[in-house]
């Protein structure tokens, strides 16, 4: 049975503990919100193609914390060079997970390159990620959940999910609010004075 995106994201974020999350624009940001809005999730409403690099910056600044980037196939395709850049930096604490429905969900469900067989996981492995798997079932999601918490990264996973329309569950839109609440939750009250 093909995986459903909301269930996959809820599984990955369940009992998230110290995990810091960057959510790429569109459906993956809504999925993260549906799993439970958190100050330590940074949902992006724009800058398409920048999610992976935002995760890299966070991972480099916070080497003692695990960082998870959840993004869509279309968003990832717009920043493919990031795979090479992360492959050079090799942050042990970064996981990059693509929720791949093979569609541009916000613009009318048009097919992305992955619908035509473009293999993002193979690209990530070739770029130097420590792991890079294609996930199609619940067992794979559970294994990924454990691996991204325990094993040395950087990890990459491409999770194939159904091209379904799901209810909108939106996080706050105000970028300054999203930034400030994240920094305050991570760095403490004094973050606003830096």
């Amino acid at each position: 049975m093909i995986l459903q995106r909301r269930e996959v994201v809820a599984t990955l974020l369940a009992e998230r503990g110290e995990l810091l999350v960057v959510a790429g624009l569109g459906s993956t940001a809504w999925d993260c919100t549906a799993a439970g809005d958190s100050a330590l999730t940074f949902p992006m409403w724009g800058a398409m193609g920048s999610a992976a690099m935002t995760g890299l910056g966070l991972a480099l600044a916070q080497p003692a914390r695990r960082v998870l980037v959840l993004t869509g196939d279309g968003e990832m395709l717009m920043g493919l060079g990031s795979l090479a850049t992360i492959g050079v930096q090799r942050p042990h604490n970064l996981s990059l997970v693509v929720i791949d429905n093979e569609r541009y969900g916000e613009t009318g469900m048009q097919a992305t390159h992955t619908a035509h067989g473009v293999d993002l996981a193979a690209m990530a492995r070739a770029a130097g990620f420590a792991s890079g798997g294609l996930v199609r079932d619940r067992a794979g999601v559970a294994a990924l959940r454990q691996s991204m918490r325990e094993d040395k990264g950087p990890h990459f996973a491409q999770i194939k999910v159904a091209a379904e329309k799901v209810p909108l569950v939106l996080p706050p839109r105000d970028g300054a609010l999203l930034k400030n609440r994240f920094r305050q939750a991570l760095l403490g009250e004094d973050a606003a004075l830096q």
Partner: protein, 181 residues
């Protein structure tokens, strides 16, 4: 003895000292002839994490994520690279991310490559259109002071501050000189 003043001023060294003093922990760059020495100084500095990028646009995500995590980022790029960051700068503006951009100009003063001229002429205007505060450094001796001021403005007021280093300072006039940089 009679070397021009510009040749006597080691602006990359002075800029590196400013970045160190102001606590920039991450420097992102796309390799560039004009930034060659500053990049090398940053790479040799154990307190700085250098991130070589495939396109300047990656730097905007890098700087945003780093600031979320409490680290300061400076991005080094050529004026052509400014064209690659325009949409992503919307995130910097909306989220009020402090960010220092140090831009070596091309297409601006004695340029030999016509394809550099359109972006070089549009660089300051494009940056301002996206909310960055722009400063022009036209002599080697003033580059570090501009970088210091732009960094303090950027991190004091939560926006992008850009220093455009004139081609007069970089001094690349021919393809041969570029190859020998």
């Amino acid at each position: 003895m009679n070397a021009p003043l510009a040749a006597a001023v080691d602006w990359p060294l002075a800029v590196h000292q400013v970045l160190s003093r102001l606590g920039f922990g991450i420097v992102g760059f796309v390799p560039d002839a004009g930034h060659k020495r500053l990049i090398e100084l940053c790479q040799a500095d154990a307190r700085v994490r250098t991130v070589v990028m495939t396109t300047e646009e990656e730097g905007i995500g890098l700087a945003t994520g780093a600031w979320l995590g409490g680290a300061r980022t400076a991005l080094l790029m050529q004026s052509s690279g400014v064209g690659n960051i325009v949409n992503a700068l919307g995130m910097v503006r909306e989220c009020r991310i402090p960010l220092l951009l140090i831009v070596t100009m091309r297409g601006e003063y004695g340029e030999f490559n016509p394809w550099q001229v359109p972006m070089g002429q549009a660089t300051a205007e494009v940056l301002r259109a996206m909310g960055a505060v722009v400063q022009h450094a036209n002599a080697a001796a003033e580059v570090a002071a501009h970088v210091d001021a732009a960094a303090r403005l950027a991190f004091g007021s939560y926006r992008a501050g850009a220093v455009l280093i004139s081609q007069r300072v970089i001094g690349i006039k021919t393809f041969q000189e570029q190859a020998e940089q």
